[in-house]
């Protein structure tokens, strides 16, 4: 068990290292560097040489990678190319805001998805199932910016119930983001709910057709006891991995939603940094996002193993 845990942690760490190499190499092969971006038209001759000297850009790529990776490990993400502000400081607030958005969407979406998934699974092919399963296909396939625009049109422009744009500054306390955060949360939760609902539905259907459920029915166990005691604990396990995948999706999909709603999160910061060609910031954000992704997936895998005795013994026997 411990060895398996260590192996998973090791593989996760390897992935993060490869990501950091890809990020560094990706930025490296782009034409231009921090100095050409900073000096713009004057980027030639002595001026460029001096700047590169000062920034340490004339060392070999391997040296600079090790330097960058080592300081990133210490939590020092470097300084931005525009204005020379510490990136860790810049990112701090934005990351917090994005996490707030994700947390609200999860808090709303996950319970709703599990409830609806169980309901649609138990009443398969009835009208509840048809309504929500069709709705889920719509919610998960329509681009986020389309559903966001539609919701703004309905709830903000026509009904006037909720603000359609976030005007709160990035460093405002959490409480000030309400009610502006509600529409972006609803859009995110909608897509998440759709994905998790479909997973839960199909695993409920599968479990309810299983032998032990039939056995329990034949023994005369009351229906709802079968559902809650026998079926659901098994049906909900696969949901953990889907939740992890949707969290990972949140990190990418949230970019578009943050732009649509003008939400001051990490995603919008990333778009701005890419447009401004602020490469150190792009590198830092990419590294953070990828690490979160790997971490979330790892946690989900471990949780599934801890909660699922079959998988656990399977791995123990493999060792």
């Amino acid at each position: 068990m411990l060895r398996m845990l260590l192996r998973r942690l090791f593989l996760g760490a390897v992935t993060v290292v490869i990501v950091s190499v890809i990020i560094f190499a990706g930025v490296e092969i782009l034409p231009g560097d921090a100095c050409t971006a900073f000096l713009e038209r004057e980027a030639q001759g002595r001026l460029l040489e001096n700047c590169r000297e000062a920034q340490g850009l004339n060392r070999s790529a391997a040296e600079r990678y090790i330097d960058w990776a080592a300081s990133a490990l210490r939590g020092d993400l470097g300084v931005s190319a525009n204005g020379g502000v510490s990136i860790a400081e810049l990112v701090g607030n934005r990351l917090g805001n994005s996490l707030l958005l994700a947390a609200c969407a999860l808090a709303l979406g996950v319970p709703l998805a599990i409830f609806l998934g169980v309901v649609t699974g138990l009443w398969r092919d009835r009208w509840v199932d048809l309504v929500f399963s069709t709705g889920a296909i719509f919610a998960m396939t329509i681009p986020e910016f389309v559903s966001a625009t539609l919701l703004i049109l309905v709830f903000s422009v026509w009904l006037g119930w909720l603000p359609g744009i976030v005007l709160t500054p990035a460093d405002a306390p959490v409480a000030e983001f309400f009610p502006e955060i509600l529409l972006p949360v609803i859009v995110l939760a909608m897509v998440m709910t759709a994905h998790i609902l479909r997973m839960v539905r199909s695993s409920v259907i599968e479990v309810m057709a299983g032998d032990y459920v039939q056995m329990a029915t034949l023994k005369g166990v009351p229906y709802w006891r079968i559902v809650f005691r026998h079926a659901l604990p098994n049906a909900l396990l696969p949901a953990i991995n889907v939740v992890a995948l949707t969290i990972a999706w949140l990190l990418g999909g949230v970019v578009v939603i943050e732009v649509v709603f003008n939400y001051p999160g990490l995603g919008r910061m990333m778009i701005d940094a890419i447009s401004d060609r602020d490469l150190p910031v792009v590198q830092a954000i990419a590294l953070i996002v990828a690490t979160v992704y790997v971490g979330v997936n790892l946690t989900a895998d471990l949780m599934t193993m801890v909660l699922n005795p079959r998988l656990r013994t399977h791995y123990m026997r493999q060792r």
Binding site: T15, I18, P143, V146, V255
Partner: protein, 298 residues
């Protein structure tokens, strides 16, 4: 040795017959019938739209800015006085062209690489899978934007960019599907007959993994469309005045309180195409007997 006849290799006509049967199966399901109709409608529209639209897509008229629907302009006009109906009818051409070329490329290179490493395995396979994991852990928008901002937003950049990044998840799918096939007896038989790797891939693996790749291709297509229109929406895709749904939604958003048809028309068009592709993919998966596993868009 190599002259031993192989009775199981199916002829061309049987392939045709099989896909004909699959098509009939897809059309017999409500989701497949609706989905395929929507997709075919959009593809045909994209081809013929330049000849059937009522106006020039870039003709501006300052006197007609943001007018509502009328007899002359059925869906009204946008903020530059251009006909919304014309632009909506033509708004899918660029998207369908780019994703229509990029999807087969992505499925082909990702699929072949996945099949090859699924068969061969070994150290290189382990390393490749870690690299695939690493690529998948970066948000799609970040990967694409870095390339687009550097090399421009033309078709010649968008097609290879989409084809490259959307081929990566296909590697994993094809590899997993290959693992299932490699364990079966007929692959061992082919090995025993002394066939080389390429022959095994062409004769035994490819025909068996093809079903999975078809469904995967349909899904990739819909996610590519989503990515393409999101990029347009963010201002990193198609450049004006080319009509494109994502761009139209972005432009019309600011005026939607008094000219909602400018937003609603491209929204309906884009959504119907993407939903059509997804419904078709669902029906195709069922017709081929594959359980479309739950996946998040990558």
């Amino acid at each position: 040795m190599s002259d031993v006849p192989i009775p199981m290799a199916p002829g061309r006509s049987r392939h045709v017959a099989r896909w004909g049967g699959v098509l009939r199966d897809v059309m017999s399901r409500p989701s497949g019938a609706i989905g395929l109709t929507l997709v075919v409608f959009h593809v045909v529209l994209a081809i013929v739209s330049p000849w059937i639209v009522p106006y020039d897509f870039k003709a501006m008229d300052a006197a007609l800015m943001l007018k509502g629907p009328s007899d002359l302009h059925w869906l009204g006009t946008d903020h530059l006085g251009r006909d919304v109906l014309t632009r909506t009818l033509m708004g899918g051409r660029e998207a369908l062209l780019v994703t229509g070329v990029a999807t087969p490329i992505a499925v082909a290179w990702g699929g072949l690489l996945g099949i090859y490493f699924g068969l061969v395995g070994g150290r290189l396979d382990e390393v490749l899978m870690r690299v695939v994991d690493a690529f998948l852990s970066l948000p799609w928008i970040l990967k694409m934007l870095v390339l687009i901002v550097t090399f421009g937003t033309g078709i010649e950049v968008l097609i290879p960019t989409l084809a490259f990044f959307y081929g990566i998840p296909v590697i994993r799918i094809a590899r997993a599907a290959t693992h299932d096939v490699v364990a079966r007896d007929f692959v061992s038989a082919a090995r025993a007959r002394g066939h080389g790797r390429l022959t095994i891939i062409r004769r035994e693996l490819l025909p068996n993994v093809l079903d999975t790749l078809m469904v995967e291709g349909a899904m990739r297509w819909s996610w590519m469309l989503l990515a393409f229109s999101s990029l347009s929406f963010l201002g990193f895709g198609v450049s004006p005045p080319t009509p494109d749904w994502g761009l139209m939604i972005a432009d019309a958003r600011g005026f939607m309180s008094f000219a909602p048809s400018g937003v609603l028309a491209p929204v309906v068009a884009l959504s119907s195409l993407i939903i059509g592709i997804n419904l078709t993919a669902d029906a195709l998966a069922k017709a081929l007997g594959l359980d479309r596993a739950q996946k998040a868009p990558v």
